[in-house]
Symmetry: C2
Subunit: 192 residues, 2 copies
């Protein structure tokens, strides 16, 4: 069951009481979604925070030239959403899309507020999740600011080789802040 995997994941971080488990089972909704399904749309307040049980998700938008720009990619075990817009209930300028078929557990902001107010350990866990996102974004902005395109690709290869096998190269290039042609060249250079 999806929810059990999720509870195991939480349990690696905090101690769960039976009440906590019941709350999670009640409020986190398991969904199975097909490849390319859009979960959240540009211009709208993100409805859900997602926990990824299986599959790959991305955040993307269209720039002024109408080209797609992928700004985030994530995979299990982890959470996904346009965090700042989800938290503040503001309109997002990004779409959330399934890159592959995905098993997800989702929860609305209202329901999250509800369970975090009912359980202080769930609240602690939710704060932990947002801190993880903060840490991740600090790391990402540092890497984009200081590493070359090739170094960024090498780092992704080391830290997330699975992404290379499950996500289109064009999304990866955009995510790494370069053009698909540049990534193609870097990949050829590295194999030869």
């Amino acid at each position: 069951m999806m929810i059990d995997k999720f509870l195991n994941f939480i349990a690696t971080r905090i101690a769960l009481t039976d009440t906590d488990i019941a709350l999670c089972k009640k409020y986190f909704e398991p969904v199975l979604l097909p490849k390319n399904r859009i979960l959240e749309e540009e211009g709208k307040v993100p409805k859900y925070l997602y926990y990824i049980v299986s599959g790959y998700l991305r955040l993307f938008h269209y720039n002024k030239n109408g080209d797609e720009v992928t700004t985030h990619i994530n995979c299990p075990p982890g959470f996904f959403t346009s965090y700042s817009n989800f938290i503040n209930e503001t309109k997002s300028d990004e779409n959330v899309e399934c890159i592959t078929e995905c098993e997800l557990l989702r929860i609305t902001k209202n329901d999250l507020d509800e369970i975090t107010s009912k359980s202080s350990s769930i609240k602690d866990f939710s704060i932990f999740v947002f801190q993880q996102s903060l840490t991740y974004n600090e790391k990402r902005s540092r890497e984009l600011g200081t590493l070359s395109a090739e170094q960024r690709y090498r780092k992704l290869m080391e830290e997330h080789p699975d992404i290379l096998y499950n996500v289109p190269i064009s999304y990866i290039a955009s995510f790494l802040g370069m053009k698909a042609e540049s990534l193609s060249r870097i990949r050829r250079k590295m194999t030869s």
Copy 2:
């Protein structure tokens, strides 16, 4: 008084009781620090979260070539620290330095935990502060990934012209993810 400016700032966000005000006055320590003073050091757990009353701060480290890399710059009104390391009490790989003389209010992690446990409105405010940092870093990583060097400089000019007059160009270039020479060229091109 520094602390009054701080309380006014908080009051724009949350309603403060007399108890909250007393707690802040008791635990936030006002300090006046000279230009170039190092407040937190690479390799150590950051001691304080800082509120900036006046002046400019930066976060920087040395890369493998021994060159300084400035990763963040901030100014009033705002908080400053190596967030993820401060929160998790982990060793930071960044230094915090005063770029100019600074009036700051600082608080340790222990004291912050103490006042957030005593006052739920201060807790809400502290969560808000960390969310701001999350929002900021999402924005920053997106800009570094998608904008050209010139676009990044133009955006800084629009959004924080004051930084240009108070921070050395070399720090700004590094902060924008480019070499000082590149920024120099961009600036000349824009004025001619």
